[in-house]
Symmetry: none
Subunit: 146 residues, 4 copies
């Protein structure tokens, strides 16, 4: 297991005040996405609860809530008195539940872009770009090397 320190020059996550999502959700989604993309590899140490709170100038409880959700999902692991680390990936949901969630997300996405007047081809093209970093990596399938 490798521990990577974070300097002050870059951060694991940025929060956007204009974003509709609550702060803790932005943190959860952002870190989950970075882990899925392989930008945060298993074993990486995340900023401490207090550290990230200071960095983002938000409350420690907000960070703690985000980390708690990621820990429940199995994305990270919190160890009292030690720190927070990115976990080895594993599949936790049943096929049915995963499909249900995909369908729900699709429905929500379509309903929010349908009235914007974009060509379906344009939407698909942009989504493809967004998904591209995930195509050949498959970080959730690679074998453990610990």
């Amino acid at each position: 297991m490798r521990h990577t320190a974070f300097g002050a020059e870059f951060s694991v996550i940025q929060i956007v005040t204009g974003d509709a999502r609550p702060i803790f959700r932005q943190i959860v989604d952002g870190i989950r996405l970075k882990v899925a993309k392989g930008e945060l590899v298993p074993g990486t140490r995340l900023p401490s609860v207090r550290g990230l709170a200071l960095q983002l100038t938000i409350n420690t409880t907000t960070v703690a809530k985000a980390y708690a959700e990621l820990a429940t999902e199995g994305v990270i692991e919190s160890r009292k008195g030690v720190g927070v680390f990115v976990c080895e990936p594993r599949q936790r949901l049943s096929r049915e539940e995963r499909e249900r969630r995909l369908a729900e997300a699709l429905r929500l996405f379509v309903s929010s872009v349908v009235a914007l007047g974009f060509e379906p081809e344009e939407i698909l093209r942009q989504l493809e770009q967004e998904l591209e970093p995930l195509v050949s990596r498959k970080p959730y399938l690679k074998t453990q090397s610990e």
Copy 2:
């Protein structure tokens, strides 16, 4: 202009208790989607605030809030003492605003499905299916003046 009356036997919209979205959001999204698909054509009369509230057994303030948002967007129009009608399509948002909203929706969508472990191809295929009914209609595009 054609006026279509709605009887009690079918409804413009159905609300689902299992849906993550609040009721007023389901109404807004649902009607906007039907208009975009061409299932609700301009001039169609919608149920009154009180009528829809009765029909769905929800609070009138909830329907009023949904109709107010749709009216602000220019999707529907309330004529005092007459009723609520679907508007002629027109583009109200700037190119930048529309792109900003698409990008935000994409980001939200990707972050919520990325950890489900689906192949990008699978996601794109399903989205294509979902967008298919919109391909040849494009009611919101025909009067676009850009």
Copy 3:
């Protein structure tokens, strides 16, 4: 969906000050257990966040945290402005994850009782008693009736 009101004469859950588990966990475990046993049937309305907090003389945020976890697990459903309700049961975890959790729970249980000096038969007998209400009910397998 049936809504059941709760009078002041009995409560969904009791917290024990001598219990090693934190308060929010006692609430989560207690309600999950009652649902699994069939004592709380789908559609039942749970006390409001403020109501349960008053009843147990704890903070509202503690109750909210417990309800949030149960909602994530799919045991209950929270609807803003409406209330909290017991959900229809469904299987959300993969076979592997369920077996992993059972093994972990077993390991924890054995390690905590092994030094108490009880006969294995005695432990098995008591566990059987504890599990008995679940044998013929199988509330998690019955079909939805909605």
Copy 4:
């Protein structure tokens, strides 16, 4: 009394980072379990606080805390300037206290597995397997005076 030395090639206990329990708890439970199973017989010499800390690459205070708890329970004994040894078994808890702990452990166990959807028979079968090594040994029962 027999003294058994521990080389560097194997250890009394292993800590697992994926374990939900804190490190000191893993040490306490692990040694108590080995003593109960008879894998560590009375008089066996355990690694020193500093030695075990080095071996597991953890803090000495963590090992000291674990040994202190085991000493309080009467499982091990520290002799200044000599070393740490497994004690002769003796029953230190009252019948009531032992039953209270068993009941609490049972309650915690049931509440954590009940929602996993396993058949009670399956759970009992697996627990029986887990308890089997303890059936005919019962080192903690032979000097019980109750």
